[in-house]
């Protein structure tokens, strides 16, 4: 997979928060030009941290790169200012949307295209976004913060597209989206990719991720534990069980393991102690 030129490369990056919390441990990952690469992993595996390191925002969270390097093409960008990394065409849709809730939808999109000096290409980009997400066109004058979660997610992606990215980093884009929209977003990703943008997709929805991706990585405790062509991973039994929900039906004691039991709270006992205390 190293035959094609690389859009982005993460070379053995380690990162930590504060002094002690290690979030990435020599993570290595490559995004070939024109590919869609998916990253899977449990909660807390370090996926978001990986994206932060790529975009340079880890420092805003008290994070620090302790080793390794990130390259856009041949250029090292590790530790650069987020703004400079954006200038290299690496745009991220952050986890949790992070749209500007006090700005209108339209203004949010303008922020996305703020680096585009050329008015015409900005207008084109906007048209493209409205085309992909018609609801945004309808709501263009609404304050973004008042939109539903899904609408906000669309806006977040739309906003990133306004920057005409070379590499698009998506952190859980399907989060909170209705199935139809997830489908739509999958299409959009494919479409964006077809138009020449390389994509890195962090997703919990492995079905979608492996559906659109060409390559995939599995992150565990900050380390890449598995990687390969998406179609291969799809068929790995471990992946199927953990990320695709294969396996025993719900309620299977063996699969779910022993479960902790919680007894209902005894309100009357609580009331008794209280009245004893009072008397």
């Amino acid at each position: 997979m190293s035959a094609s030129p690389l859009a982005l490369k993460v070379a053995d990056v380690s990162a930590r928060y504060g002094r002690a919390v290690s979030a990435l441990d020599r993570a290595a990952l490559e995004i070939p030009e024109g590919a869609v690469v998916a990253v899977l992993g449990n909660n807390g595996a370090g996926k978001t941290t990986l994206l932060r390191v790529m975009s340079g925002t880890h420092r805003l969270h008290g994070g620090e790169i302790t080793g390794g390097q990130v390259f856009v093409g041949e250029t090292p960008i590790g530790g650069l200012n987020p703004r400079k990394i954006v200038a290299h065409g690496v745009i991220q849709v952050p986890e949790g949307r992070r749209i500007f809730s006090r700005l209108t939808v339209e203004e949010n999109l303008r922020v996305g295209g703020i680096r585009t000096r050329d008015r015409r290409s900005a207008a084109e980009a906007r048209a493209r976004v409205f085309d992909l997400f018609p609801i945004l066109a309808d709501r263009r004058h609404q304050r973004a913060g008042l939109m539903s979660g899904g609408e906000q997610q669309m806006l977040a992606i739309g906003r990133a597209l306004m920057a005409s990215p070379r590499v698009l980093l998506l952190d859980e884009p399907s989060l909170g989206l209705a199935p139809l929209v997830v489908e739509q977003i999958a299409h959009v990703i494919t479409e964006i990719n077809r138009q020449g943008t390389s994509v890195l997709l962090v997703e919990q929805n492995a079905e979608v991720a492996l559906g659109v991706a060409t390559h995939a990585y599995v992150l565990e405790l900050g380390r890449v534990v598995l990687s390969g062509p998406a179609s291969e991973l799809r068929n790995s039994p471990a992946i199927r069980q953990l990320y695709l929900g294969d396996g025993a039906p719900l309620g299977d004691e063996v699969a779910d393991g022993p479960r902790p039991v919680l007894a209902p709270w005894d309100f009357t006992a609580a009331a008794r102690t209280r009245s004893r205390k009072a008397s």
């Binding site: 975009s55 340079g56 925002t57 805003l60 200012n81 987020p82 703004r83 954006v86 200038a87 745009i91 991220q92 952050p94 992070r98 749209i99 500007f100 809730s101 006090r102 700005l103 203004e107 949010n108 303008r110 922020v111 996305g112 703020i114 680096r115 304050r143 913060g145 008042l146 906003r159 920057a163």
Partner: protein
Amino acid sequence: MTYFVELLINGVSIGLIYALIAIGFTVIFKATQVLNFAQGSTLLLGAYVVVQLQERLGFYGAVLAGVAVAAAVAGAIEVFLVRRASTHEHISLAILTLGIDIALATELSRRIGSEVLSFADPWGNRTTAIGPFVVPQARLAAMVVCAVIAVAFFALLKYTSWGIAVRATAEDPEAAALMGINRHRVAATSWALAGGLAAVAGVFMGTAPSPGLTSTANVTALNAFPAAVIGGLDSPGGAVVGGLIVGVVQSLSGGYNDQVSFLGSPLSEVSGYVVMIMILLWRPSGLYGTREMTRV
């Protein structure tokens, strides 16, 4: 009636000066969510520089220099202090500016001493009669300048990329950075603009009918706080309205203090604040401020 109108005119002309300072508060607040207590001493600094240089550079040249110095200092405060603070707690940052204000005001009042800073402005003591009312030309100039500045800021924030960058950064610096916004530049320019505005306000505060600025001018600048809050802390247009309200209320309550002597005197000191409280009870984010949104 004439008396009322006279008071009104006086209130408006003072209110516009408050407005200039208040616009500065709002711009800084909008861009960095910091309440800048150092605005008062920046104003004094600007005025001081103008007075020091007006003989050499002429009035307009000195004003330009004063505005530039005040802008540079305010910008530097952001670049070297606010930005580098170890905390992003807004309260702490406000206190940071208080610390700067204390140091700066101490130095300025040491230098100024009992001097009255008076400007060699082209309007001097000349007045213009509008009907039966006599208005100092300096105040007319203040009105024009203030109106122009207010409109300019409104347009700047609403329509330019800079304005949108300011608002985006204000809300979510990380997301803004991810969009390639240079939040440092945005912050520094807003502070610098506000500093320049303060210098302009300082000059108008010291021109006719005022004989000049004393070293306590930074205290008077405090009146811009209620002005900014009445208008809504993140609304430059609101700052103008707020400034006018405070100015007029102060002037009227002072003028009619005798009629309500049971309220005690001098009323003009508190009246602006009382009106502010009433307005806030009615609209907790000021007249034009963005309402705090709760969307869960």
